[in-house]
């Protein structure tokens, strides 16, 4: 009796959450201004993080809240504010009814096809869970998601770091030539903002403890380099937008070293695998856990710096020499 009730209560919560996610998503798409749309999108991301918790994916929930909603939201909201002068004009270029109708039909078909896949699943649900569980004891990593990210599919994670670096290079190269190597942002003295400045003085130390904890606990529980790095990046971004500290010059040696140290150590350990283990990115059995933790620590640093600089945008000031 009581379990039946609990299940029903859970399902009511799930149905309400799903409806809310959809409603907010519709709101973000049809919103009157780009600013309102971005606010809707950030809300959507946070609600999605709750959905991830309901799907037993706390690692993903942390990543979605920090990166998918938080840092992405910061980038989009800054862009919406900058693009406001052009908004009315480009919004007027709305496509005609035939195209909108065709797009609606196409979207509905895609959605219906996916819904069919959801409603008619293959009889034994496919799962790599048992395969992932086999080597967990040897790795001494209690969190299977961390094990997949840094052991079984380490090459994906390595390439993803390279993608992050490439994106940052792409962003930087969009700056006018004369700004190359300079600090990101507009060439104006960052003004300190009262209420925000206070938060930026009090919160970052707390955020650092939380970030390091999330990184450390990632070996045995939800958490890890991405989530911890995103929290550290958020603290840095807070300090920068509150005007307490300026963004660093993108040409600085220390900044560039921090950017590459994570991927470089990861790659070095991977190459060492040829010599001391079975091949690229193979860890010697007895050192797997310390190696993974060492990689995660430097990766966290690099991720934090890359995310912070991606959110700051291309260099906008000439380099001071």
């Amino acid at each position: 009796m009581s379990t039946g009730f609990a299940l029903d209560a859970g399902l009511v919560l799930d149905a309400g959450l799903a409806a809310l996610v959809l409603a907010v998503a519709v709101g973000a798409i049809v919103a009157g201004t780009a600013f309102a749309a971005v606010v809707g999108f950030v809300t959507y991301g946070l609600l999605l993080a709750l959905v991830w918790v309901r799907l037993a994916a706390v690692d993903v929930a942390l990543t979605e809240a920090a990166i998918g909603s938080g840092v992405t939201g910061a980038v989009l909201i800054a862009a919406a504010a900058r693009l406001r002068p052009a908004e009315a004009r480009s919004a007027a270029e709305r496509p005609g009814v035939p195209l909108r109708l065709a797009a609606a039909v196409l979207s509905a078909l895609v959605a219906a096809g996916l819904a069919m896949l959801v409603l008619l699943p293959s009889a034994p649900a496919p799962s790599l869970g048992p395969a992932a569980a086999v080597h967990l004891p040897e790795l001494a990593i209690g969190n299977p998601v961390t094990a997949v990210l840094l052991a079984y599919r380490a090459i994906d994670t390595l390439l993803e770091k390279i993608v992050l670096l490439l994106a940052l290079l792409g962003v930087w190269s969009l700056a006018p030539d004369r700004f190359w190597g300079g600090a990101p942002g507009q060439p104006h003295a960052a003004q300190q903002d009262g209420a925000l400045a206070l938060l930026a003085r009090l919160l970052p130390p707390v955020g650092i403890v939380v970030g390091v904890y999330i990184l450390w606990v990632g070996a045995v529980a939800p958490g890890g380099a991405f989530q911890g790095g995103a929290i550290l990046a958020a603290m840095w971004i807070l300090v920068m937008i509150a005007g307490l500290r300026d963004a660093p010059a993108t040409g600085g040696r220390r900044v560039r070293l921090l950017l590459v140290v994570g991927p470089a150590v990861f790659l070095a350990v991977g190459l060492a695998g040829f010599v001391v283990a079975d091949g690229f990115l193979a860890y010697p059995a007895s050192y797997a856990k310390p190696l993974i933790i060492a990689i995660e620590v430097v990766l966290t640093l690099s991720i934090a710096v890359i995310l912070g600089l991606l959110a700051s945008g291309p260099p906008g000031r000439e380099r001071q020499r």
Binding site: A79, V118, L128, V148
Partner: protein, 115 residues
């Protein structure tokens, strides 16, 4: 109906919604936003598949979950790059439109940047 099916249907609707928005909305920034919304739907489908694949004492299949974490980070990189491209377009032409043949104003940096 189970919670997984419920969220699966929600994910399918999100993909449709995001696809519609990214085709129909004329503003590039909102196309980027809609595309991210679409991405959220795709990731959620992964989450549903992972939850259905619960096995070996795990609450969900960790492989799709790890792929989604990678996916979220890559989606952010692409978004940051796309937004920067858009802002550069706006700085250079004074407008934010993807329409071909839009009148452009001369690039203020071209005298320095051009070779």
């Amino acid at each position: 109906m189970s919670a997984e099916t419920l969220y699966g249907l929600c994910a399918a609707a999100l993909v449709g919604l995001g696809l519609f928005g990214s085709i129909v909305d004329p503003q590039p920034l909102r196309k980027i936003l809609a595309f991210n919304l679409l991405g959220g739907g795709v990731f959620l489908l992964f989450g549903v598949i992972a939850r259905r694949g619960a096995a070996a004492g795990m609450a969900a299949d960790p492989v799709p979950q790890a792929m989604v974490i990678t996916g979220i980070v890559v989606a952010f990189s692409a978004t940051a790059l796309a937004v920067t491209l858009l802002l550069r377009l706006f700085e250079t032409t004074g407008q934010a439109t993807l329409r071909t043949g839009a009148p452009a104003r001369p690039d203020p940096d071209s005298d320095r940047a051009g070779s």
